[in-house]
Subunit: 351 residues, 2 copies
DNA sequence: ACCTGCTGTGGGAGCGTTCCCAAGACCTGG
DNA sequence: CCAGGTCTTGGGAACGCTCCCACAGCAGGT
């Protein structure tokens, strides 16, 4: 079943059927209806390959998960991002292709990318969670391939991006600790080459300054985004007697709470804690962890929207979108436990 | 740059270039080499759409994540499955397309499927984590569309599938509890319409029988795969004084441990516990949770392999693959803590 | 009466492959 | 020396669509 055949059955030409399928205005009402009935009756669907070949658009977008997909398995960042991206794709009648390198073969990567990009498989791609030095970014940028970054990039201001407003988020979190009356507020950050970690540190400093406080260098330490790293960082910090801390990830925050407790320091009575990410374990922790939740699926949704816009209007100014976060108040910052913050139990559909 | 142009530069015809690209044997060594050099030099890649149109194969496979992708966000099942599927796809020079319905529009589903399937976007699909009554399965089966199920299906023995050997896994877990000397072993299962839960229950019964024990109905209760459900189930069970329990999910197991502890029952001294799934929180729990780990990425890998086989040989007998599981011994069953089972800290790459 | 513009429709050309048949070159054995 | 094969190469004909131009029909202004 193809355009020609539908046309034959409806007594019109291939061109007219094509116009009906593509919602072209220049078809009379009567003809349109007749054609649509035939399409319905025979369950006709246009052939994707033929369409792509003729129109030079595939209506397929790629999402590139860089190297170590293994490292993002421990929290739901990746699935939520995909869900958001799929939402936008469905709405725009596009499809989403996964671009990941094989777990056992980190080398085939470049090659795979060139094959997919060179063969015009895709109309554009979203790069999730990239590292700064990734050569693919330079390559794509130079070949003027349509793409969007999730997470802002310090260089390349001309590449469109979506990011969470980490700066505002941290500032907001620290402001909340200040409202609780704390004054010696510590910070456990990430490695200094992570943009998100830098931004969060920036927000921390700003919040202190706006409260007329001077950031004390000894109160800000680096973690490595692991629970053990949070534990170690907290041990360092304890010597300087903070009354509250803002931690750049929940995982580290849980480690920090452990360290505090092991040192005989009660949370939140002696030490208020706010984390980042709202991982599933945060709600169930003892005490439940106040944290900054990120609109991850919105990140995916907006990334696709911006990409589609980019494809349609390649010469527009690059968009840089910063999405707001949400501070989820639980026990660890000293707020009372609320109903909505209780453990949900983590529903899961098994095999 | 297309076949014709490469041919012109190499002084051969379009057909010959096509043969070189597709590794057709009937090309002389000299010509092959000459063509390959031109291809390299000009970075030629065959156009995917034209290929699909002419060959009626897209080299794209779909992975269908049914309705509530939201429910599988809380554990890494989905990303790992995808990773495995991508591995196989990369190895076979295929691509992976995500098929999910929008989070806010559970209705557009059927429509989306028909569009994608009808338009010959894909060569076949893998259905992950399906429910028994899913109409899509019937539809695909009737239209003889190539597809593979992840998770076995009680009806439709003629649909190829990959599954974890839940029965053997549960049997093995219960046998381990028996080895610890326990005799009153309880079971917390899932809803009775979940195939995985049924299989696990079956394994539990078999293990008891093989040890010459009679399964006691009061010692087996249903949970709903939430932490709260595990808590409630354990409360029921405690009245019958089990000395060990096998729980069909880690999430429920954590709830059960809570309930036991709240009732003054020590784990593992008074009650040994084994869970299922090896979720990240299992290693970090107090006590660390003995659990059955599933080879999730292998599930994805094998599903694609079987699908490709199915596409190539549609009339072969349907394959039903059962993958083995691994019992991970930690504290909660009474085993000593081992080095490898300690919390890893959940590394995560932030934005 | 004419030209002009606008609307709806048809059909040619082309997108870049693959598949198939034809044909030339070359070999082999009688 | 030639019939019959194999090996290599070339080119026509799809595949099913979109894009563009052509053209019929009709209304309105001159």
């Amino acid at each position: 079943m193809n355009l020609e055949e539908v046309g034959r059955l409806a007594g019109v030409s291939r061109s007219t059927v094509s116009r009906v399928v593509n919602n072209d205005a220049r078809v009379s009402g009567a003809v349109r209806e007749r054609v649509q009935i035939i399409i319905q009756e025979h369950n006709y669907h246009p052939n994707a390959a033929a369409r792509s070949l003729a129109s030079r658009r595939t209506r397929i977008l790629g999402v590139l998960i860089p190297q170590a997909a293994g490292t993002i398995f421990s929290d739901p960042f990746f699935p939520q991002l995909i869900q958001g991206a799929v939402d936008s794709c469905n709405a725009a009648d596009h499809n989403l292709l996964m671009l990941m390198n094989s777990s056992n073969d980190p080398h085939g990567r470049e090659q795979m990318h060139r094959r997919v990009l060179g063969g015009h498989h895709l109309d554009g791609i979203v790069i999730a969670s990239s590292v700064v030095e990734d050569p693919i970014i330079t390559y794509l940028h130079e070949t003027r391939y349509p793409f969007v970054l999730v997470g802002r990039h310090p260089r390349y201001r001309e590449i469109p991006s979506v990011d969470v407003d980490n700066r505002a988020a941290a500032q907001n979190a620290v402001a909340h600790l200040l409202e609780h009356g704390h004054r010696r507020i510590g910070f456990i950050g990430g490695l200094p080459n992570m943009i998100a970690a830098i931004d969060r540190y920036g927000g921390y400093v700003t919040a202190l300054q706006e409260a007329g406080l001077l950031p004390e260098p000894a109160l800000a330490v680096h973690g490595n985004f692991t629970q053990a790293g949070g534990y170690a960082a907290m041990q360092t910090l304890l010597a300087h007697r903070p009354d509250a801390i803002c931690v750049a990830s929940d995982t580290m925050a849980l480690g920090a709470i452990h360290a505090a407790r092991d040192a005989g320091c009660r949370v939140p009575e002696d030490l208020a804690v706010i984390g980042f990410d709202n991982i599933p374990a945060a709600a169930g922790a003892q005490p439940s962890l106040t944290t900054v939740a990120q609109p991850i699926s919105d990140l995916g949704r907006e990334a696709i929207r911006i990409l589609l816009d980019r494809i349609a209007q390649p010469d527009h100014h690059p968009i840089h979108l910063l999405l707001p976060t949400q501070l989820i108040l639980r026990r660890s910052c000293g707020c009372p436990e609320t109903a909505g913050s209780s453990p949900t139990g983590g529903d899961r559909q098994p095999l």
